[in-house]
């Protein structure tokens, strides 16, 4: 009974989360998808390193950090663009997007330099 209760609760929780998520605006969903994509790429790279060893360690680091870095920047973009966020009410979303693009470019310059 307890088990089925927890499972039911988990199901209920999952459903409510899913419905709440459906309410988010589309552009935030796009950003979330992008974040997911970046993290997935990072995970695959870590799995590869686990299999073949970390010989060109700098290459591994630059690959993983590129994914992680761009994910972090996307998260900060999402925060700034979210209308419900009172802190960034006055910040126009285009400005946030411009920052996102600029920081990504700088990140990727560093990554490419470190790639070797």
């Amino acid at each position: 009974m307890g088990r089925s209760a927890t499972t039911k609760d988990a199901h209920a929780l999952f459903h409510s989360l899913r419905s709440a998520y459906a309410a988010t605006p589309n552009h935030l969903k796009i950003i979330d998808l992008y974040i997911l994509f970046a993290v997935a790429t990072a995970v695959i790279q870590v799995a590869y390193m686990a299999i073949v060893g970390s010989f060109p360690f700098n290459s591994f680091l630059s690959g993983v950090l590129s994914c992680v870095g761009t994910a972090v920047l996307a998260v900060s973009l999402r925060i700034q663009v979210n209308k419900d966020n009172k802190e960034f009410k006055d910040l126009p979303p285009e400005r946030a997007f411009a920052d996102f693009v600029l920081c990504n470019l700088v990140l990727h310059l560093v990554i490419i330099n470190f790639l070797g």
Partner: protein, 691 residues
């Protein structure tokens, strides 16, 4: 040992045995070929008139035929110089000298003009060079054109003005301003004075001529000397005429005194030994290396050949190494410096000294004169002369006593002669003796000098004895400079022993018991080598004789080690041992297929992202439609793509600085279009909000 008994020990002269025994030979064929080589005309002429004269004079003295085109071109330049109005006395002097050799076909008018210029130059002369050229020119003019009247009226005055430049030590200054005096200037001055005397009408005062003769004798006080009997003049300072070598200074003086000797009526009392010494100096130079030195040498020798009253005669030996075995004969030649035959005389061998000792013997033997070759021959060597080095002392005696006044021979002439011969080697044998009794264990006869290959064996208790006899062709004992026995071990260590002698018998005994330590206790095969040699021994030899197997006791611990043998010095240029470098093992790389699989796997999330975007119905509806904003938008995206492409290029081949430069430019562009695009988007969205 080499006491050639029967010699009387004479008073040792100051000029000890060995010095003053150099051989001087008169001018040879090699001088002619050197002259042709050194005086080679460039473009058909020899350059200046002075050089042309030097070349022509040298060829004339040596008897070399002049080429026709040289004669014509030289004559042409002579004619041109005599006609030209810009010539100075120096040019006339050289031109007239050339003419005296070549006898060019010249116009008498040219000579008249020359005469007036030279007389004018003489009147205005105040330096020695001016006097020399003008007087020299006038003397030559007088010889070549008897029609032209050349005589000096105020000869006394000219004589005195030249004398005024002279100094008390016999040397001359070049002009009254220059205090430096030189022998070279003295030579020029004497030539000029002799010229004045020959041109003067009426005759110059005799007292002046006497002072000139005294100057010549004073000049000889300043002569310098080498140990081998040669005399020469040298300059202490670099004068106005440039640096003078002993050759040019001595040549100048010789020309001067020859000119003086030719003008005076009775013979000039020149010191005979010094004249002979000067002749030997010029001959001792050999073949000079430069054209000018060759000219000085040949010109001076031609002056000495004909010098009035003291003509030097040179005694020379064509060969100073005489072989007793081949029965060579000692030949002596007496000639003038240029090789012309001497007057009738006889050569006597007076004394023979043994080289390196004070022994001497008096011979007093006359040499037979061979008229065909012009040589004096010593038909048989004196009996007590055997193989060795000697100094022969010759004396020249004239058949006509009058010749003593006109020729100079220098008394006794000493010449170093080597008598060589084949040395007989007899009774050569090598023997192994038993230590205690001295009884012979092995005895082998040797054939020396010839090939020998003995095989002996000995132990440390035995002795080895080598003996042989040396005798000269006439049967006397002979002690060579070198008599060595060398034993060389297989490992390369060798030991050298001197072979001693008593009389004719040479013997060496090697007692191995005493030599064990010297041989470093090395047993084994020792190669035997015998060397007997001397500079006067025609059959000197260095022979391997065979080997001896030595059995020596073992070395005790403290014994000396044999010296390390020298490494072949060329082995350092051979290849060195190979170096094996140890590299870090390369990291293990994954299989190619695995990497490609993961490359594909990494791209999967990207496609997942695109699929998700489609599912979310992402669209480009907000893309600006109007021309200007859309352009900026497109440029914005292109700019980002360009930056990413730049990064790709950076990874592939660019370096950081180039990338940063390009990035800077692109960044500025991107900023501009991005600002434009995003501000347009912001304004449209705010318009939407407000509406």
């Amino acid at each position: 040992m080499a006491q050639y008994l029967g010699f009387l020990v004479l008073v040792v002269l100051v000029l000890a045995a060995g010095c003053e025994s150099a051989v001087f030979s008169p001018v040879l064929e090699s001088h002619r070929s050197a002259a042709l080589e050194l005086f080679s005309p460039a473009d058909g002429s020899y350059g200046s008139l002075e050089e042309t004269y030097e070349a022509l004079k040298t060829f004339k003295v040596l008897g070399i035929e002049k080429k026709h085109y040289i004669t014509t071109s030289s004559c042409a330049s002579v004619a041109q110089t005599l006609k030209s109005t810009s010539s100075v006395s120096k040019d006339y002097f050289h031109a007239l000298r050339i003419n005296s050799i070549l006898n060019c076909d010249l116009n008498i008018e040219a000579f008249r003009g020359t005469e007036s210029v030279l007389k004018g130059s003489l009147n205005g002369a105040n330096s020695l060079i001016d006097f020399y050229f003008s007087i020299g020119g006038l003397v030559l003019l007088k010889e070549q054109t008897p029609e032209v009247d050349v005589h000096l009226v105020d000869a006394d005055k000219i004589f005195r003005s030249i004398k005024a430049l002279g100094q008390s030590d016999g040397r001359w200054r070049l002009n009254s301003n220059n205090p430096e005096s030189s022998n070279n200037a003295a030579g020029l001055a004497l030539e000029a004075l002799a010229g004045v005397i020959s041109l003067a009408t009426p005759q110059i005062d005799n007292s002046l001529i006497t002072t000139m003769k005294n100057d010549v004798l004073k000049l000889f006080d300043g002569i310098e000397r080498y140990d081998d009997g040669t005399y020469y003049f040298d300059e202490k300072h670099v004068g106005a005429l440039g640096h003078q070598s002993p050759l040019s200074a001595s040549a100048s003086v010789v020309r001067g005194i020859t000119a003086v000797a030719a003008t005076t009526s009775e013979y000039l009392n020149l010191p005979g030994d010094k004249i002979l010494g000067l002749a030997k100096f010029f001959l001792g130079v050999g073949i000079p290396g430069s054209a000018q030195d060759l000219y000085h040498q040949i010109d001076a020798l031609s002056c000495l050949e004909n010098i009035r009253g003291s003509t030097p005669l040179i005694l020379s030996l064509p060969a100073t190494v005489i072989s007793v075995t081949k029965k060579d004969q000692l030949k002596v030649r007496v000639s003038t410096v240029l090789g012309s035959p001497a007057p009738t005389l006889s050569v006597r061998l007076m004394q023979i000294f043994v080289s390196g000792t004070k022994d001497a013997s008096v011979i007093d033997q006359k040499l037979k004169f061979d008229a065909v070759n012009g040589m004096h021959v010593l038909e048989t060597l004196p009996k007590n002369i055997d193989v060795g080095s000697y100094v022969f002392s010759f004396e020249i005696i004239f058949d006509n006593p009058e010749h003593k006044k006109t020729y100079v021979t220098g008394g006794r002439t000493r010449v170093l002669v080597d008598i060589t011969g084949v040395i007989k080697i007899d009774n050569a044998e090598i023997v192994i003796l038993d230590g205690d009794h001295g009884s012979i264990e092995t005895q082998k006869k040797l054939k020396l000098p010839g090939g020998n290959d003995v095989a002996l064996s000995a132990n440390h208790l035995q002795k080895l004895r080598l003996s042989f006899d040396l005798a000269t062709p006439s049967g006397n004992a002979f002690k060579p400079h070198q008599a060595f026995l060398k034993l060389r071990h297989e490992s390369g260590v060798d030991h050298i022993f001197l072979v001693g002698n008593s009389g004719k018998k040479f013997e060496i005994i090697l007692d191995f018991l005493g030599l064990v330590e010297k041989f470093f206790y090395l047993s084994g095969r020792y190669n035997i080598q015998l060397t007997v040699g001397d500079s006067d021994m025609e059959n000197s030899f260095l022979q391997p004789l065979g080997y001896v197997e030595l059995d020596l006791p073992d070395a005790p611990e403290k014994a000396a080690r044999p010296p390390p043998q020298p490494v072949d010095p060329y082995s350092r240029y051979g290849p060195k041992p190979e170096i094996a470098h140890i590299f870090r093992a390369p990291e293990k790389r994954p299989a190619k297929e695995l990497s490609l699989v993961f490359l594909g796997l990494v791209l999967v999330p990207f496609f997942g992202f695109l699929a998700g975007l489609v599912q979310l119905r992402a669209n480009l509806k907000n893309f600006p439609k109007a021309t200007a904003p859309s352009t900026f938008a497109i440029l914005f995206h292109l700019g980002i793509a360009a930056v990413l492409a730049l990064y790709a290029l950076f990874w592939l081949k660019l370096d950081l600085f180039t990338t940063l430069k390009a990035l800077g430019l692109l960044g500025v562009f991107l900023m501009f279009v991005g600002h434009k695009t995003l501000s347009h988007l912001a304004s449209t969205s705010s318009k939407l909000k407000s509406s």
